[in-house]
Symmetry: C2
Subunit: 129 residues, 2 copies
């Protein structure tokens, strides 16, 4: 089975995070998308999401690299749910911090697949509830 | 904060499962929604989803009750991601089987919020990858 389009987009977005190319990164998000910055903190809309990624880059002293691990994609009714291991490599660390992420995409007639909800914490948010 | 509409809909859907009212249950799904029946098995579209719920009801000898535990809802760009403890009470069991589920909804201009992806296994699917 060929790789789902949204997995290719996530790889490109991960590269944009590594390069701190936030103009490019924002092109993967819907205008009123939501990013779970950390448990209890949400960024809503491209302006807030961009500011959050700037803050994340500073927090990791501009040494954050993001890779994909195992993944499943479910597509239904113009939406896609991605269940994925997201690996954060910080600085010179040889082993990543691995999150079990959940991403939602919507297929837009004009713009193709756009990320609408970016929750890298997945169901672990229930621990913080 | 008032409860998000999709949480109310999930409660109504859970009641429909308990009552085995599959006509009503199907009204919560988009026409081409996807249900993760079990790891590696997908039902696509209302006809397949209905057959899957019939099989599930038989499997649990018509003694399945579904309740919500803790939940988070994230809404962005006309979609919603629900992260939820889904509690399955089977027969006379006092303690439920708890899953950490992920549900995707899409807001339809005519029909309101409809479930597009029903994955009660959440990120645990990565264990089966």
């Amino acid at each position: 089975m060929s790789e789902h389009t949204v997995l290719k987009l996530i790889k490109q977005a991960d590269q944009a995070i590594t390069n701190e190319d936030f103009d490019r990164l924002m092109s993967f998000y819907a205008e009123d998308a939501v990013l779970v910055v950390q448990p209890g903190q949400i960024a809503r809309g491209k302006a807030q999401i961009r500011r959050a990624f700037n803050a994340i880059a500073r927090h990791f002293q501009h040494r954050l690299t993001v890779h994909q691990g195992r993944a499943h994609v479910f597509e239904g009714a113009g939406t896609a749910l991605v269940i994925m291991e997201t690996q954060l490599f910080i600085g010179d660390a040889k082993t990543p911090v691995t999150r079990r992420a959940t991403y939602v995409f919507r297929e837009d007639p004009a713009d193709g697949w756009l990320c609408t909800i970016d929750n890298s914490y997945g169901t672990d948010l229930l621990d913080a509830a």
